[in-house]
Symmetry: C2
Subunit: 464 residues, 2 copies
């Protein structure tokens, strides 16, 4: 392992330059006009897998963005590790010019590399690829375990084709443990392991009033303004205490038990830290739960976007025909994302007065997941972090959603390790997304160490 | 007058072709990138005033869009009539491609001419100019009264420079009566005279939460989402019965007396007609007032636009840093638009919880107005409509706002006649704005007849 680690240290500049290439590709999966760029990111990923020493590298087409696969299966009898990540990135809408440098012209400032996708998830995918390269170099072209890579291009749009691909390729993807690097650790000197993820129900609510835009002076006062009606519906989806006012919403929510509350209390998120990270004036949410619990262990309902009427410069006295909102719920075990969509649909229907019409359109869905923290697989991850970052990792719940975790469990029947190298303030999905360079280099080391740690276990032990 | 009327009838095709030229100019005053087009509309207006026979035609610059002035003062002792209109138009935002023909490529379909500004207000300005041409032609180059035109280019953005211009040019604009053609009649065979207008307070409400966009999974549940907070504030600005929930908002509202209610009941707006005109599923608003009263005699609060977060294709799980709404109030006598802004500001402040910050930005203001319906000036308008449209006009309150009415009263000390030629379903401010061709031709006739009717009165009688 010393050899692999020194390979990493001596190739820092090279790795940085190469990652910048990756980040310059505008693989925004939600924008169809970027399809060529997204395709280019898939090809770049495949090429680097090949260069790292994997064989069987293939780009599998899907109805939208391709899936990149690569494997090295030269260690018969040793465990097989499936490594998942995604090469697509979020959009960069920047009406207020908040990006300090261009999102697709990666730039190092201080300890960080700034670019869209730097942390979510290209930087972490890249760390896993370079770990293979370092191990191959250190071990004469061999790895201590069998390895399969599955890197998709549709994570940011809800992975519409991934489940189908996994179900149709169970043999190709057969493994003993899956590893996902798409989460954050607490700090460069405080690694952490995420053992629970929230699920997702993402939908649009549309409110229709008149069948064409009206002059507010000619009809104002007699028409239920769709923007106002939408605001009334959205306002009614929360109770004054911050809890969600949808009938049945909490029915399947698994309560946090005393032991877990105690464990979560070990990594408290203070109001002060929260304010530094968010810049918001005061925290909000269910008063019976700590900030950490609200983020990781409780479901939420967020408005992700609203639009309607005149939004240009100056004033236009229009009474618009319709109004639309994008709304999403983060779900926890054991909520079902499709059931939640139906609950929201029923509630919106109930909240819609006869003066307007409403429509709920489901966009995507992901199941929540919890990973067993006392398994041998998690033990290997703990050891790997200890070696890669030189510090003992703590256990965390994570507020985000990685729906594939539930699929790996269900379809491949293996434990899933969330071994992430991002940081909480990386700005994933927002402006000035960054990746900490210490996290990059120690991430490569941790990823290499993880494969070595896993090689000490039998496939049977891993799967327990 | 027979001569003037036959001049109109024999020039229909010519007038239509010329008006199309006017409507093809994209004089959208709120968009600074259209400044050249707006300037071109001013020049076109000036040229047609000159061609109609006015002298002293001048384009006066303002800090934004110029004011066009023209006069014919060859009837000493006869009354002087000031005719006001505007050559600027509303934007055409058409994300859903609702315009059947291009808004700036005027097209006749059936009885109507379709184009942005066709009814509001270029078509009506044009009718007034052509009335001068017809009278000049019929009377050997003379008019029965003195005439001044004041055509501005900033009406659709709240006339920010008009009050200053009027105050600074009292002598230039001195007159005995003012005429504005920027309102609708009930139907081509049912002319009507608007005797009351609503005022306007237009503002933006901005809600700020975190200082940058966040990942909804990483912070959702602890941050008061600014879009949600904005919805909560907006929802709380109305009571469940449709009345406005702003403290003090109704304090200065002049009640509708029994006589006026009776008069308004003579031109009822039925639920059925309302539905045909709006296409909305069911009417809304203060139950104690009829639809006609809600539109004309009661103040309103409308959301004209909202935006924030991700509004593109697909799903992005962003928790946005801010949310903005454009909100406007239609005011009735004796509300003060600046006072109303302060009332809204205070209410929004009261509704803003400590978890977010809010900001109210005033955009523009107009005073409500009521015109005395038993005056000699209104009598002249009644006679003119009777002759131009061949039917007896009825009296109406109008829901819209023409702030200059209050200024003419206050600064020039003259009665203001609202002699409009639009129709209620012209789609002013919306897609497929149109102008009825009967209204165009009969409008020119009415405008000519009005000047002749006014010539029968002395300046003293007019001003009473």
């Amino acid at each position: 392992m010393t050899d692999a680690f020194s390979y990493v240290d001596s190739h820092r500049d090279h790795f940085l330059a190469e990652l910048k290439e990756y980040l310059a590709i505008q693989s925004i999966s939600t924008l169809s006009e970027k399809n060529d760029e997204t395709r280019r990111a898939a090809e770049w990923t495949a090429e680097k897998l090949r260069a790292a020493g994997l064989s069987e590298v293939q780009i599998y087409p899907t109805p939208k963005h391709p899936i990149v696969y690569g494997a090295w299966l030269g260690a018969p009898g040793a465990p097989t590790v499936l490594i998942y990540g995604h090469y697509d990135v979020q959009p960069v809408d920047d009406p207020e010019k908040k990006w300090v440098s261009d999102p697709f012209t990666p730039e190092v400032r201080g300890e960080n590399l700034y670019a869209r996708g730097a942390s979510d998830d290209k930087g972490q995918v890249y760390a896993n690829i370079k770990a293979i390269e370092a191990l191959m170099h250190a071990n004469g072209g061999r790895l201590p375990v069998n390895v399969k890579f599955l890197i998709e291009g549709e994570e940011e749009i809800g992975s519409p084709n991934l489940d189908h691909f996994i179900n149709a390729n169970k043999d190709l993807l057969a493994c003993d443990v899956a590893v996902i690097s798409d989460t954050a650790i607490l700090a460069p000197d405080q690694p952490s392991i995420v053992y629970a993820l929230r699920g997702l129900t993402y939908l649009e609510i549309e409110v229709h009033g008149p069948d064409h835009d009206l002059h507010s002076g000619q009809f104002g006062g007699t028409v239920h303004n769709p923007l106002q009606a939408l605001c009334e519906i959205i306002a009614a989806l929360h109770n004054p205490d911050g809890s969600i006012a949808i009938e049945g919403f909490y029915d399947k929510v698994r309560p946090i038990d005393a032991a877990e509350r105690e464990a979560m209390a070990k990594t408290p998120l203070s109001e002060e830290t929260w304010r530094t990270q968010t810049g918001a004036p005061h925290s909000w949410g269910e008063p019976a739960y700590t900030l950490r619990e609200r983020i990781g262990a409780r479901p939420t309902l967020e408005v992700n976007g609203i639009w309607g009427g005149f939004t240009g410069e100056g004033s236009k006295t229009v009474l618009p025909a319709k109004a639309t909102a994008k709304v999403s719920c983060r779900l926890v075990a054991d909520q079902d994302p499709y059931e939640v969509e139906e609950l929201i649909r029923a509630q919106v229907k109930k909240l819609t007065p006869p003066t307007v019409k409403s429509l709920v359109r489901g966009l995507n869905h992901g199941y929540p997941a919890i990973v067993p923290i006392d398994s041998a697989a998690v033990g290997a991850a703990v050891a790997a972090y200890r070696r890669g970052f030189g510090a003992e990792p703590v256990f965390l719940r994570e507020g985000g959603s990685i729906p594939v975790v539930a699929t790996f469990y269900k379809v491949l029947g293996v434990p899933v390790l969330l071994v992430g190298y991002g940081l909480p303030d990386d700005g994933a999905h927002g402006p000035n997304e960054k990746y900490n360079l210490t996290c990059l280099y120690n991430g490569i080391k941790t990823s290499a160490a993880l494969l070595e740690e896993i090689s000490k276990l039998t496939p049977e032990k891993l799967r327990l």
